[in-house]
C-alpha cells in the first residue's frame, strides 16, 4: 500500500504534454520497452514523440501492420508481457484486424494504438478514415476512441489493465490526430480495477472440495491442459498437481510446453491430429479435469459423443467458457494458479499404473502404424516433415522456442518436437492464421534474445507474410526459418484427398526460388532435397550466427495421421 501511494505521489507531478507525448509516457509508465508498428499520416505525432525516446522504447518497424500484430503476439506469448502495436488510420488500422482476431481467440494480451483522422473530420469519409472501433469490436476485448488529449492516460491505463487481466486479450485505442496534438496537464495513474469488470472471480471453496473428492475417488482420471496454465504462470502448481495425483495429462495445442513433452505423465496431444491414446481414452475416463482450456471443436470432435461417461471438472477463469461447449459437473471459476494451489492441498497422492498402461498400449499402436514411418521413413521415400522436426529436436535437445504457422507442418512441429522449456511454443491455435509464424518468431526473438527461435512454416504460409524478411534484414535479428516445402497447400490437399475424391482444387503451389529471395534480404540459406543432406543442413542451420533459411523438400502427398474427421467423435480417431 505504502509503495503504491508513494508511486502515485510521484506520478501526480504535473507535466504539460501533447497527447502524442502522453502516449509515449503512458507506455513508459507501463514498463513497455519494445513495440511493433508502421507509421503513417494519422499516427505521425506519436512517431514524432517516439523519436525522443529511441533508447527507452525500441520500435520495430515491420513491413506490414499485420506483421506488427503477429510480432506483438509472439512477443507477448514468450515474455508474458503485453504486446504493443502502433498503426495509422484507415488501411493501417484495418491491417491489424487479423492479428487482433487471432489474439482474441488465443487470449493474447495486446494493446493496439491507431491514429485516427482529426475529430472534426470524422464521418466525412476523410482520407484514410475508417471506423476501426466499429470494425474491431467483435475481435477486441475492449476498445475506445479518444478525441481529447486529457482522456489518453486513463484510457491507456485501462487498456493495459484489461489486456492482461482475467482472460487476456487484444485492446484497441483509436486516437484522433487533433487529440495527439493537443496539450494538457499529464498525470498517469495505473488502472487497478474497473468497477464493472471482475477479472479474477473468487474460487468457490465448496467446489474445490467437491472436485477433490471426485479426483480422489477416480479410477481412470484424465487431465486436459490448455493455455490457461501458461497465462496464469502456474508452472509449479500444475506440475505438482500432476505429479501428486499421478494422473495422465494431455495437452491442447495452446497448452503445449506447460509440461515437458517427455514428462512420464504427459500422454500427448488432444484433438483432430492429436495422439491416439488421449483421444480414445477421453471416452473411457471416469473423471475429466480440464484446466485452462475451452473445449474447442478441434479438441472435442462431436460434443454429443464426447466424454459422456465422465464427470467433468472445469478449472477456468472465464465464466462464459463454463458449460459453453461441454457441461461441467464441477466448475472452479477463477485463476487456475490459485485453484490448483487449493486443489493440491485436498487431493491424495496417487498413482494410476494400470490406467497409464492403457495409454502406453495405445501409444504403441500409434508408434507402429504412424509415428515410426513419419520419423524414420523407408529409404526410398521422400523426406518426411516428422524426421526434420525430430532431427532439430535432437540437435537442440528440445531447448528452443518453436513458432509455427498453420497447416500440416504445424501439427508435426507440435507432435514431434520434444519441448523442454516452459512457454516455448507459439502458434496460431484458434484462428488458424496462415502467415503467423514469420512475424511471430520475430516478436518471440525480441522477447527471448538468448534463446534459439525457430519458425516452422509451410511454403504456403511463408508467402503470406514473406515481406517480414525485410524486418529481419533491417533489425539483424537471429530467427531461424525452416520451410517445409511440399509444393502444396498440404492440409487443404489432404482434405481434398480424403473428403473430396482427390479433386485437387487450387492447392498446388508453383513457388519462387526461396534461396534467391533470402539472398536479396541478406539471409543465408540452404535447400535440402535428399535425406543424406538433412543432418548437415540442420546442423548448419542451427549453428549459423544470425538468421538462416533452411528449405527442406518433403514428401508431396504425405498426410497427417492420426485424424479425427470433422464431425466424428474422438473415439473415431483414424490411424490411416
Amino acid at each position: 500500500m505504502e509503495s503504491t501511494k508513494a508511486q502515485q505521489k510521484k506520478m501526480t507531478k504535473k507535466l504539460t504534454l501533447t497527447g502524442a507525448q502522453a502516449v509515449v509516457q503512458c507506455l513508459l509508465a507501463e514498463g513497455v520497452d519494445t513495440i511493433f508498428g508502421y507509421p503513417g499520416g494519422a499516427i505521425m505525432p506519436v512517431y514524432d514523440a517516439l523519436y525522443d525516446f529511441q533508447k527507452e522504447i525500441k520500435h520495430i518497424m515491420t513491413r506490414h501492420e499485420q506483421g506488427a500484430t503477429h510480432a506483438a503476439q509472439g512477443y507477448a506469448r514468450i515474455s508474458g508481457k503485453v504486446g504493443v502495436c502502433l498503426a495509422t488510420s484507415g488501411p493501417g488500422a484495418t491491417n491489424l484486424i487479423t492479428g487482433m482476431a487471432d489474439a482474441q481467440l488465443d487470449s493474447t494480451p495486446m494493446v493496439c494504438i491507431t491514429g485516427q483522422v482529426a475529430s472534426q473530420m470524422i464521418g466525412t469519409d476523410a482520407f484514410q478514415e475508417t471506423d476501426v472501433v466499429g470494425i474491431s469490436m467483435p475481435v477486441t476485448k475492449w476498445n475506445i476512441q479518444i478525441t481529447k488529449a486529457e482522456e489518453i492516460p486513463a484510457a491507456l491505463a485501462k487498456a493495459f489493465f484489461v489486456a492482461k487481466s482475467g482472460k487476456p486479450g487484444p485492446v484497441l485505442i483509436d486516437i484522433t490526430k487533433d487529440a495527439q496534438f493537443q496539450t494538457f496537464e499529464y498525470n498517469y495513474e495505473p488502472c487497478v480495477n474497473v468497477r464493472s469488470y471482475v477479472p479474477h472471480p473468487k474460487v468457490n471453496l465448496e467446489a474445490v472440495k467437491e472436485a477433490a473428492a471426485l479426483i480422489n475417488q477416480a479410477k481412470k482420471p484424465l487431465i486436459l491442459f490448455g493455455h490457461g496454465i501458461l497465462l496464469a504462470e502456474a508452472k509449479e502448481e500444475f506440475k505438482a498437481f500432476v505429479e501428486k495425483t499421478g494422473i495422465p495429462a494431455a495437452w491442447t495445442i495452446m497448452g503445449l510446453s506447460a509440461l515437458a513433452t517427455d514428462h512420464p505423465l504427459n500422454v500427448g496431444m488432444l484433438g483432430m491430429h492429436g495422439n491416439y491414446a488421449p483421444n480414445l481414452l477421453t471416452n473411457e475416463c471416469d473423471v475429466l479435469i480440464a484446466i485452462g482450456m475451452r473445449f474447442d471443436d478441434r479438441v472435442t470432435g462431436d460434443t454429443r459423443r464426447y466424454a459422456r461417461q465422465a464427470k467433468v471438472i472445469h478449472l477456468e477463469i472465464d465464466p462464459a467458457e463454463v458449460n459453453k461447449n461441454i457441461p461441467a459437473d464441477v466448475a472452479l471459476i477463477g485463476n487456475c494458479k490459485h485453484s490448483l494451489k487449493l486443489l493440491l492441498d485436498e487431493v491424495k497422492r496417487n498413482a494410476h499404473t494400470s490406467w497409464l498402461e492403457e495409454f502406453q498400449k495405445l501409444t504403441k499402436q500409434e508408434v507402429d502404424k504412424v509415428i515410426k514411418d513419419e520419423l524414420s521413413p523407408a529409404p526410398d521415400k521422400q523426406i518426411s516433415m516428422g524426421e526434420v522436426i525430430k532431427h532439430i529436436s535432437e540437435v537442440t535437445k528440445g531447448n528452443a522456442i518453436i513458432v509455427t504457422d498453420v497447416g500440416q507442418h504445424q501439427m508435426v512441429a507440435q507432435r514431434y518436437f520434444n519441448y523442454q522449456l516452459w512457454r516455448s511454443n507459439v502458434t496460431s491455435g484458434g484462428l488458424g492464421t496462415m502467415g503467423f509464424a514469420l512475424p511471430a518468431a520475430i516478436g518471440a526473438k525480441f522477447a527471448a534474445p538468448d534463446k534459439t527461435v525457430i519458425a516452422v512454416i509451410g511454403d504456403g504460409g511463408f508467402q503470406m507474410t514473406i515481406q517480414e524478411l525485410g524486418t529481419i534484414f533491417q533489425t539483424k535479428i537471429d530467427v531461424k526459418i525452416l520451410i517445409l516445402n511440399n509444393e502444396y497447400l498440404g492440409m487443404v490437399r489432404q482434405w481434398q484427398d480424403m473428403f473430396f475424391e482427390k479433386r485437387y482444387s487450387s492447392v498446388d503451389m508453383i513457388n519462387p526460388d526461396f534461396q534467391t529471395i533470402a539472398k536479396g534480404y541478406g539471409i543465408s540459406s540452404m535447400k535440402v532435397q535428399k535425406r543424406d543432406e538433412l543432418k548437415n543442413g540442420i546442423e548448419e542451420f542451427l549453428a549459423h550466427k544470425g538468421s538462416f533459411l533452411l528449405e527442406v523438400m518433403v514428401g508431396k502427398e504425405n498426410n497427417i495421421f492420426p485424424m479425427i474427421p470433422t464431425g466424428a467423435s474422438v473415439s473415431e480417431i483414424r490411424l490411416a
Binding site: N143, Q145, N193, V194, S196, Y197, K202, D318, P319
Partner: protein, 177 residues
C-alpha cells in the same frame, strides 16, 4: 424449444457499448425483436431491455457473453411470466375523422387510449399495453385512416425482489478482488 425472453442489461453509459452488445446477437443469428435503452435507478448506469425468441440454453450463453463485456455490470434474462412489461404505441390520424364521426372517439374510449395532441390537421393517440393490445387498436383505427404509427420497444420490470443496487455492489466489490 424456442421461447420469448426479455433480457435486461446494466451498463456504463459509454459510446459504442450498445453496438458491442447487439453484435453478440448478430453473430449468433438471433433476431432482436425489440430494444430500448435508458438510465436505470442507479445514477449513471444504463439499462438495455432486449426481447428475443430463442432456446433457453442459447440465451444463457448470450447472457454470459454480454456480462463478459468489460463495461457491462450484469445481465439477466426472464421468461414473460416472470416480468411485468409494457409497450407504448402512438397513432397519428387526421383530426377530421374525430370531428366528423363519433366512431373513432368510441374506439379510443373502449381501448383506454388517450389523445396526446390535437392539432387542426392531425391528432395523436397514445396507447400503452401489450403488443396484442396496441395492435388491436391499430386494426380498429386502420379503416378510419392512420397517417403514421409507431410502437416502442418493450420495457419490463422483473418480479424477483433482489435489487440491481445489490448486484451492483457485489460486482463492484468483486472487481477489486
Amino acid at each position: 424449444m424456442k421461447k420469448q425472453f426479455t433480457i435486461s442489461i446494466y451498463t456504463e453509459n459509454l459510446i459504442g457499448l450498445l453496438h458491442r452488445v447487439t453484435i453478440i446477437f448478430t453473430r449468433r443469428h438471433i433476431n432482436i425483436e425489440s430494444i430500448t435503452a435508458s438510465e436505470s435507478e442507479v445514477h449513471g448506469i444504463h439499462r438495455y431491455t432486449i426481447v428475443v425468441t430463442e432456446e433457453e440454453w442459447q440465451v444463457k450463453n448470450v447472457i454470459k457473453q454480454i456480462e463478459k463485456q468489460i463495461d457491462v455490470f450484469k445481465a439477466f434474462y426472464h421468461p414473460n411470466e416472470n416480468i411485468v412489461f409494457q409497450e407504448m404505441a402512438l397513432y397519428k390520424m387526421p383530426t377530421t375523422v374525430l370531428s366528423e364521426s363519433k366512431e373513432v372517439e368510441k374506439i379510443v374510449r373502449q381501448h383506454h387510449a388517450r389523445l396526446l395532441a390535437v392539432e387542426p390537421e392531425f391528432t395523436i393517440i397514445e396507447k400503452t399495453g401489450f403488443k396484442e393490445e396496441t395492435q388491436a387498436l391499430f386494426e380498429e383505427l386502420k379503416p378510419h385512416g392512420i397517417l403514421e404509427f409507431v410502437r416502442s420497444g418493450r420495457i419490463s420490470i422483473s418480479k424477483p425482489m433482489k435489487e440491481f443496487q445489490e448486484y451492483f455492489h457485489e460486482v463492484e466489490k468483486a472487481s477489486k478482488h
